[in-house]
Amino acid sequence: MSENYALKLYVAGQTPKAVRAFSNLRKICEEHLEGRYTIEVVDLIENPQLGRGDQILALPTLVRKLPTPIKKIIGDLSNTERVLVGLDLRPRRAS
């Protein structure tokens, strides 16, 4: 568990959902990835062309660029359990 996590959070403006997603993400990272993560926030309103590269459709979208493979989590990240599963920090449970 020593890998570094490079995370990108795509949003469009300071919407309530975007603000929520960012604070949820910070909290999860502090708890589970302390000292080994970076978060880059990409605002598509300022840079719409950046949406193409990561195939952004829904917002907010969290993209785990590292470690590979790339993972995508959409939504305001309010369900911590599912965010951890999405980031491969917790095994997926058969539901």
Partner: protein, 487 residues
């Protein structure tokens, strides 16, 4: 049609540039609004949308954005290149943007609330980049497979279509045909301005593509199913003719090729630009009668086009020569041309297109289709009737006099079998053979001929070395006058 003109002024249209489609939609798709195009796999909906974008960019100075959820841009460009569309060149000239959105459920984890603002931002950015006026979404329903929260998805789609309307872009939204609903996800609930349905059916081993305008708010439109073709030139909706009965009705008459038959037809023959049906059982002389008609037209210096669905041109010419009608000179002068084809070689819509092409290149004043019954083998009864209506409409608009021969099966009532097409015909001449005293006698009569007094005689005739010769009617002297000239 005052109401139609009014509607046209009210609603602005965005021409598709697809031959025929702009006719049946009275000018194109509703400008600044979305149009739903629904159809099964391989029905041609993607191609229709791309034609709309390409023609918009090339012919109407309206750049376009293609947002595809289906294939990637390179594959798409490859697919439509065979139809003569060079997407890469359009992209390079900033007349087209193709944005590929890939959605894979297995790659996406959903947690909490989200929206599709990313899609809006990308679309908005693309529209602004080239000043796009047209948008195509192909096939947005794919999102239902990629995202779990259909509640959000539905709300966002509703918002998307409203947003596109506000943005003033004319859009084509493709969708898969659904089992219960018109589209798999019921998109018709969101897009109510115009709905087009595409269909690709195989009936009796013959494939036919059809297009229908299901709905077009605020505009008149053709309501039929129209056959269409996907050929090397792209989509072609047939016919390229009017929906209304508004052909010219010339007073001019043309000879049937036989003086005696002309006499039975009000003394002057058929009307120009009318339709004539020659029906009868096998071997009664229908083709010979048609040959007389063509011979007379060529002798007047008019161009003729003869569709043969039973024999080759050589065979036809030989047979007619033996009956005393030599048409070879007209062929040499280019006045008479043939178009021979096997009826079951293509579907009906291909036949229709071939006929259009042949008529356009020969520009004839007389067309013969011999026999029309063989063509009927190429489709179901309704299809054939629909196709014939179009052929006739097309020929009448061009002022062509058309003669159709029809083979009657002896088991059926002579007059009943053609019920399907007879109403489309202006004149109907019936030829038959009866056996009497071990001799086969030929006879003909005019069953109907619109707009002229015609004879009610049943005239015997012979086919000799000068073609058809009508014989005098034998009848008791008393009734002779009474039966002569009635309508």
């Amino acid at each position: 049609m005052a109401s139609q003109k009014f509607a046209r002024a009210e609603l602005r249209k965005s021409p598709t540039g697809i031959p025929g489609l702009d006719d049946i939609t009275n000018g194109g798709l509703p400008k600044g609004r979305p149009t739903l195009v629904s159809g099964g796999p391989g029905s041609g909906k993607t191609l229709l949308g791309i034609s709309f974008l390409v023609n918009g960019a090339e012919q109407f100075a309206e750049p376009g954005v293609l947002l595809t959820f289906e294939e990637n841009a390179a594959e798409l460009a490859e697919d439509v290149r065979s139809l003569g569309y060079d997407l890469e060149s359009l992209i390079a000239r900033k007349k087209l943007i193709v944005d590929y959105i890939h959605v894979d459920r297995s790659e996406i984890e959903e947690t909490g609330e989200y929206d599709l603002e990313g899609l809006f931002v990308r679309l908005d950015h693309a529209i602004a980049e080239i000043g796009a006026k047209r948008v195509m979404l192909d096939t947005i329903e794919t999102l239902f497979g990629g995202l779990q929260d259909t509640g959000i998805l539905r709300a966002e789609l509703r918002r998307l279509f409203r947003w596109m309307r506000d943005r003033g872009v004319t859009s084509v939204v493709t969708a898969e045909r659904g089992e219960q609903m018109f589209t798999r996800q019921g998109l018709e609930e969101y897009i109510t301005d115009a709905v087009i349905s595409l269909d690709h059916r195989v009936e009796e081993q013959i494939s036919t593509r059809r297009i229908r305008i299901v709905k077009y708010r605020g505009s008149t439109h053709g309501t039929n199913e129209y056959p269409f073709l996907i050929s090397r030139d792209g989509i072609n909706v047939l016919p390229v003719t009017s929906l209304l009965l508004e052909h010219e009705a010339p007073q001019e008459r043309v000879s049937s090729g036989l003086k005696d038959l002309d006499a039975m037809l009000g003394g002057k023959g058929y009307y120009r630009a009318s339709t004539v049906l020659l029906s009868g059982t096998a071997g009664t002389g229908k083709t010979t009668l048609a040959a007389h008609f063509v011979n007379a037209a060529c002798a007047r210096g008019e161009r003729c086009l003869y569709f043969l669905f039973e024999e080759s041109p050589q065979q036809f010419l030989r047979n007619m020569r033996s009956a005393g009608i030599d048409l070879t000179a007209w062929v040499k002068q280019g006045l008479l041309r043939f178009h021979a084809d096997r009826p079951n070689r293509h579907g009906l819509e291909t036949h229709l297109l071939e006929m259009h092409k042949a008529v356009e290149s020969q520009n004839p004043s007389v067309v013969v289709i011999d026999p029309i019954t063989n063509l009927m083998a190429a489709g179901t009864e309704n299809d054939v009737r629909a196709m014939l209506t179009r052929v006739i409409d097309y020929l009448k608009t061009r002022g062509v006099t058309a003669l159709f021969t029809s083979l009657t099966t002896p088991a059926h009532d002579l007059e009943a079998t053609e019920a399907m097409i007879s109403s489309l015909m202006d004149s109907w001449v019936l030829v038959a053979i009866t056996e009497e005293n071990r001799k086969r006698n030929r006879w003909l009569y005019v069953l109907k001929s619109r707009g002229m007094p015609h004879s009610n005689d049943v005239r015997p005739f012979v086919i000799g070395d000068k073609g058809i010769q009508l014989l005098a009617v034998e009848r008791p002297a008393r009734t002779r006058k009474a039966g002569r000239k009635s309508r």
